[in-house]
Symmetry: C2
Subunit: 454 residues, 2 copies
Amino acid sequence: METEELENPWHVLAELIEAKYADGVRAFLEGLGALETARVISRLDAENQTKLLLLLDPGEAASLLEGVSDTQAADLIEQLPVKTAAAILDEIRSDQQADLLAQIPSQNAEAILSKMSPEEAVDARRLLEYPKNTAGGIMLTEYLAYPGGKTIGQVVADLESHRGSYADYTVQYLYVVDSAGKLKGVLRMRDLVFSASNATLAEVMIREPLSLQATASTDEVRAFFEGEKLLGAPVVADDGRLIGVVTRSAVRNAASEHATRQFLGISGIVGGEEFRSMPLMVRSGRRLSWLTINIVLNIVAASVIAAYTDTLSAAIMLAVFLPMISDMSGCSGNQAVAVSMRELSLGLVRPSETWRVFGKEASLGIINGLVLGALLGAVAMIWTRNPYLGLVVGVALAANTVLAVCLGGLLPLVLKRIKLDPALVSGPLLTTVTDMCGFFLVLSLATLMLSKLH
Amino acid sequence: METEELENPWHVLAELIEAKYADGVRAFLEGLGALETARVISRLDAENQTKLLLLLDPGEAASLLEGVSDTQAADLIEQLPVKTAAAILDEIRSDQQADLLAQIPSQNAEAILSKMSPEEAVDARRLLEYPKNTAGGIMLTEYLAYPGGKTIGQVVADLESHRGSYADYTVQYLYVVDSAGKLKGVLRMRDLVFSASNATLAEVMIREPLSLQATASTDEVRAFFEGEKLLGAPVVADDGRLIGVVTRSAVRNAASEHATRQFLGISGIVGGEEFRSMPLMVRSGRRLSWLTINIVLNIVAASVIAAYTDTLSAAIMLAVFLPMISDMSGCSGNQAVAVSMRELSLGLVRPSETWRVFGKEASLGIINGLVLGALLGAVAMIWTRNPYLGLVVGVALAANTVLAVCLGGLLPLVLKRIKLDPALVSGPLLTTVTDMCGFFLVLSLATLMLSKLH
């Protein structure tokens, strides 16, 4: 029994929720680690998830949601009455607020925004204006800004009197703005320690601080943080007004979300993350959307085989090698895709450098093609005791490897230039082309020397 | 000409290096962004890379290396004379120091360590003791620790007098240790602002601070930071001595490196990152090491086809559908692999929860199997004008999809339990099994109803 409780703690939680025993729920959740909490919540059914969030204070519910992934949190928010959703969102950090609202259908999001506290709603709307892949999309709107005329002593007093409400302000800088809200200077928190308390901020601040335009792309933001040893940078609107702060960790978060999308994309999970707690038909439908496109591409590639059934009938052992050529060429090409995507993301190659990549991959393709072609050719020769069949298979794999490696290296660059997502499109496009060429090479070579293959 | 210079700035840099014009090199590098710097350095040949690092001060060279990936930085370090390498490593942050040394063959690393400044070498060795996936492996050894008897005033004076050397200490906490170096308390930097300057640290500090064991896994460390709103946490050895600090950003870094390895692993890039600036034979050899294993697995799978050549000869159109069944089952399985790996990394599923995953994937597999089987069966029926062939293909794909989806969902869990890397092993193992079963299903079903397939 105890083991079962430890393995399936959500049964206990579900009972506590159904008994509406809020303090019990709190005590139970406190005993769980952060990872465990996410797991337990995802195992509750939708009804109990809603009841749980209603049972807790908005602040507590907000902390819970901050611990789970955005996709899951957005699902949970959507199930709630609009008023409760708004109260909880009021308590969530501004960057996650916008991330969650962006994942909720815009009508529902609008309904929630209209019930949120006016200041929080203004901040959230401001963040929603900017695409997720810009500085404005990943900034925080919780920051400390003061007029330059304030003294160090006044600021320290303000910080002291607002200690509680500033506790979430993780950035260790103070910003100085003019009466129009334009960014004029910056101070590090520790500069407060070393300055006379009657000095004004304008006297002590670093003037003309580095800042990011709200429309700067996350690539630019990342480059900025790689060049500067800062924990955070102010974000300004077109007119120079301070509107937020991008932290180094927000940049890392954005990069890791990008990596997750890449990983899921090349694995054929599209249209957002999938969790096994989602409804079966949603999971099935999203996976199928991808697979049905793939089936069409497969039919296109296989039609090459259908054109050569006479050759195949005459040398049936070729049928053994067709799936192998398809799989091996796909693997060679995918290696090159991965290297290109990695070099693109590190900025080591530009989308325009197609000739360089072509040269590098062609030379590697020739070596690997020769090795793999010789290997598979030898296997085919020994297996079928027919040197000509070995020759056909070996030459076809060698040539197709060169093609696959070059194409795999170039595809991410080309797709990036035409603004398609390399993670989603490279794989299927690559395998369709390499399958068609591979099948064509094997079967047309075999047709040429058909008399020797019997 | 100007375009060429903009596109290929490493030509300019190479000329400056060959002229040994250090100030020119500095001015040139300062004009480049961080991403651009990494690209330019990677395009220099090995000789000029070495000359560049020798031309700059160790501190400047260290900044350069901090901007490129660890794999590249380790390659650059290895090319240098031991003494220069040691001088540069002295200037690099402790966590990256250890990461670089870990990538250099241990004999060379030992030689470099022996020429480093004694304190830096002690710190680096301490970090090298701990595996990369533990708190000890990702901690920084730059932290501020004082005895509890010191007063706030003394600490502020010490901070002020060491402003320059403490500038890299990004963590915003002070630690209090006893005479044996054991962790006793912690203060936030801003607590200095609000405390009387004659108060002792022991009076002001937060007692019994949260800390991490050096041997804690990065999963545990991540769970710790998800639960606590801290920028950093002290790391203690078994005996309670403070030995380092893990920052929130180090945890994110570790997670993003893990994601990169996953992405490269499932794409068949093994044994570390590949950059196109590496020697051709190294790149080729590492890709081949993976492909040759794959060729063996392919031969195993294809041997199923070889056992059924009579059936194939009698119904040659089956050869068209074999590669399709192989590819479609592989894709269905890989989707399930990706979902499992994602849920594992988020802690939403435990490696022991095989039954839950099996149930979730089996139900999805049945739906998707029915849909895909019906689709491909219909295509086969129309294409070959033979309803029985459509039936064989459709039933085989349906059954194999169920198998692939269940296997794909379970493999990462099982591999994690037996401590194999799911990113590397799931894909090849999955496709080999699903290929064999898919080929067997099509060809054995076809053999059963061979009379109807002519």
